[in-house]
């Protein structure tokens, strides 16, 4: 009797696992597989680290990429496409170190032999960080999404992926929206057009940033005051190596626009020299 119970339990578990795998394979919510057609509209996640691996695999026709941190995340790929007259994919990641950005760009190079142009927005704050630091926040990085193994059990039998699959199906049938997810890729990580502007708004943000909360939020960046030349040299070498690897691609390095308030703020907390040195180091590449 007990043997039968265990047998049925194991068979039931196996069926659940197989059905889960089949569901995730069919819906493929994170675009792990390269496909032209999908059973449901893609529900893009705002979590860039889970979104980008699939975007890279499914953007073979996109010959231009935007790389960078959240400072570049505000770009709309459609705006860049219109300006450059090229098909553009946005591969920016909030808080990505230059190591993570280089990793992403390298994967893009691997899968895009026809790539023509890279818009790389380099935040001076990140130039001299520890070169082995992959993200500025602790994170269980989803490297498995960059695999090409068709039977990727980490993807197929995954709670978060299954949840996303179910949400994709519900959205496909009913149009119900889910938090931090959208069917419009162009909206990902951009700001609403009705966002308030002006000095008052800036100063409200300044007060938030100068509070202790900011130091807790960004414990790696905030205390830094001295520019680390050795770290910067290793980080910037990675950029040069990538440029050497694909000489057929035009790489535009952009320093994002910091406001004068930002510089004043950095000066107040003794971090201005570090940022200016980082800009200059980048300029000497």
């Amino acid at each position: 009797m007990e043997k039968n119970y265990i047998k049925y339990l194991l068979i039931s578990l196996l069926i659940v696992v197989l059905l889960t795998g089949a569901l995730n394979y069919l819906v493929d919510p994170l675009l792990y597989y390269q496909r032209d057609k999908r059973p449901f509209p893609v529900l893009y996640t705002e979590d860039q680290r889970f979104l980008i691996p699939g975007l890279i695999k499914n953007s073979r026709s996109m010959n231009t990429a935007i790389i960078g941190t959240s400072m570049a995340g505000i770009f709309r790929a459609s705006d860049v496409s219109a300006l450059l007259n090229e098909k553009t994919v946005k591969l920016t990641v909030n808080g990505a170190t230059l190591l993570e950005q280089s990793y992403i760009l390298s994967r893009y190079f691997d899968t895009h032999p026809d790539a023509k142009r890279i818009i790389w927005v380099i935040d001076p704050m990140y130039v001299d960080l520890d070169p082995e630091l992959f993200t500025i926040r602790s994170y269980n990085y989803p490297f498995f999404l960059y695999d090409h193994n068709k039977l990727n059990l980490k993807y197929l039998i995954n709670y978060a992926v299954t949840t996303h699959s179910i949400q994709t199906i519900i959205n496909g049938f009913s149009g119900i929206k889910f938090y931090m997810k959208t069917t419009n890729l162009d909206d990902i990580h951009t700001w609403p057009l009705d966002t308030k502007t002006g000095c008052k708004q800036i100063m409200e943000n300044y007060n938030k940033m100068s509070s202790q909360h900011f130091e807790v939020l960004d414990p790696i960046l905030v205390p830094l005051t001295n520019f680390n030349e050795l770290n910067a040299s290793i980080n910037l070498n990675r950029i040069s190596e990538l440029a050497e690897r694909r000489k057929d691609i035009q790489i535009d390095l952009i320093l994002p626009p910091y406001s004068i308030v930002r510089y004043l703020f950095e000066n107040e907390k003794k971090g201005l020299n570090r940022i200016l040195d980082a800009r200059n180091a980048l300029a000497s590449l």
């Binding site: 705006d79 966002t195 308030k196 000095c199 320093l255 994002p256 626009p257 406001s259 004068i260 800009r279």
Partner: protein
């Protein structure tokens, strides 16, 4: 590789001191296309201008959101 940048001191263009404004970033992308800021010397020069401006400004006055900041 080419380096591009713009320095904008007009507070009204900024919605967040740490982050971004779609207006500004669209402008930056336009500059990349137009090649208005495409040499490394301009970055070095602008670093000097930033330092000079920071030294000139009283942050407490800036916080009061009075006059528009001087252009470089």
């Amino acid at each position: 590789m080419q380096a591009s940048e713009d320095i904008i001191t007009d507070l009204d263009l900024y919605i967040d001191m740490i982050h971004h404004s779609s207006t500004v970033n669209k402008l930056i992308i336009n500059n990349v296309v137009d090649r208005k800021f495409d040499n490394y010397e301009s970055v070095l020069e602008n670093s000097g201008k930033i330092r000079s401006l920071v030294n000139k400004l009283d942050f407490n006055e800036v916080k009061k959101c009075g006059n528009q900041l001087p252009q470089m």
